[in-house]
């Protein structure tokens, strides 16, 4: 009886806690909802700690306030539609890329998702990472350099803020072009806002849940602290091959002084690898996680 009550309490408290999270978060944007305005830079008086170069301290552990799975793209300041499978309508793709996305949508609606290497535990990449089930991130800021570590698969964006240019390897027309899973990023401060640009992202990655992008995707992210405890993240994605218009996203984060990462590594027990034709599978047969021959206890 005690165990039963505990189980009920545990389940109930989890649900209540989650409900509070949802209530506390920004309202979920409906189709056509207006993109919230970018945060105005806050004055120095709102920050308890400044570095010697006058940049605000945004180091720390940050929890997303947007409900998981309900983060949306905006175009021309208006929210896009999205279905229960996570697929968007209204992404302003150019014709070839629209056809690619439509084919992927058809496959997904037929019960055979296609077109996202994350099925095979590839990283989501710097665009889609913010869209993951839990976009928790840690920021480590030192003079001239910033590292953002995301909860899922502990993906890292590591970039300089000292004025150096974007690496040549990020440019598809450069002989040294070498795209990477997380691309190449550089950053600079505009007042209290950290502005980061990322290019050279592997084109196999997505704008989230099979939505493709090309090899010239350009991601500009603006991280603006709202005082010491809150942070807004405004993202603009341009892609001169795949997108006729930029995509925008607006997120809010809250500092968690007691935050800590938990294990969230896709390769642990993935049963959704793609088949030989690239379609996602679901393996219901039992498979032992990679404990190999270790005893259970």
């Amino acid at each position: 009886m005690i165990n039963r009550r505990r189980a009920h309490v545990a389940g109930l408290s989890g649900i209540i806690g989650y409900g509070v999270l949802l209530i506390a978060a920004e309202p979920v944007a409906g189709v056509g909802a207006q993109l919230p305005p970018a945060a105005a830079p806050y004055g120095r008086e709102h920050h308890s700690i400044y570095y010697a170069d006058s940049t605000p301290n945004i180091s720390g552990f940050w929890l997303p306030e947007n409900p998981p799975g309900q983060i949306v793209w905006y175009v021309d300041g208006k929210a896009l539609g999205r279905d229960s499978q996570g697929m968007w309508s209204g992404i302003p793709y150019t014709p070839i890329w629209l056809h690619i996305y439509q084919q992927r949508q058809l496959a997904t609606r037929a019960g055979k998702p296609y077109g996202d290497p994350h099925f095979n535990c590839w990283p989501r990449g710097p665009v889609s990472e913010y869209l993951s089930g839990d976009g928790t991130m840690a920021i480590t800021q030192t003079p001239g350099r910033v590292q953002q570590v995301f909860q899922e698969d502990t993906q890292v964006l590591d970039y300089y803020t000292d004025g150096r240019p974007m690496p040549r390897e990020a440019d598809p027309v450069d002989p040294n072009y070498t795209p990477r899973m997380n691309g190449y990023s550089i950053g600079h401060w505009e007042g209290s806002t950290l502005v980061t640009e990322t290019r050279g992202i592997r084109k196999e990655l997505t704008l989230g849940f099979t939505a493709p992008h090309s090899d010239v995707t350009d991601v500009v992210t603006r991280l603006t602290p709202l005082g010491a405890e809150e942070l807004t993240v405004d993202i603009i994605v341009t892609d001169k091959k795949a997108l006729a218009k930029p995509l925008q996203m607006h997120l809010r984060y809250r500092r968690d002084p007691k935050g800590a990462f938990v294990d969230e590594f896709c390769a642990e027990n993935n049963r959704n690898y793609t088949d030989k034709d690239g379609y996602m599978t679901t393996e219901v047969e039992d498979r032992r996680p990679t404990t190999f021959d270790l005893p259970d206890n």
């Binding site: 165990n3 189980a7 989890g14 189709v31 998981p68 279905d83 229960s84 309508s89 049963r271 679901t282």
Partner: protein
Amino acid sequence: MRVTLMVLASLLLGGIGPAVAHHSYAMFDRTRELTVTGDVKAWQFTNPHSWLQVLVKGADGAEVNYGFESANPLELSRLGWTRSSLQPGDHVTVSYQPLRNGALGGELVSVVKPDGAKLLAQLPRFKDTPPAN
């Protein structure tokens, strides 16, 4: 085997489901919810998804293995789940949304444990919104 078919109104299902994590959930038929009773073979509180394996006795007495996919530990922990929520041998009743390809299993909805406690396994998910013009 005791399988009870319940067709649920999409209204009831509209706001519930795993938070979007590793993949689309298109392979599950989210218009239906089934229940099955059996014994836990394994509870894998793992990434990118947790899996519940249940041995269910068929009409001929033979056991068949069902597999139920659920959210990752981070998400399930918000609903009160732990890696020890279920133990091998536990006699459980499982509600799930079946795989569209007919394989034995589906997306985990809830589990009723031997002591009658019910654990929910689904979190708010994407809301259907009409296409933008």
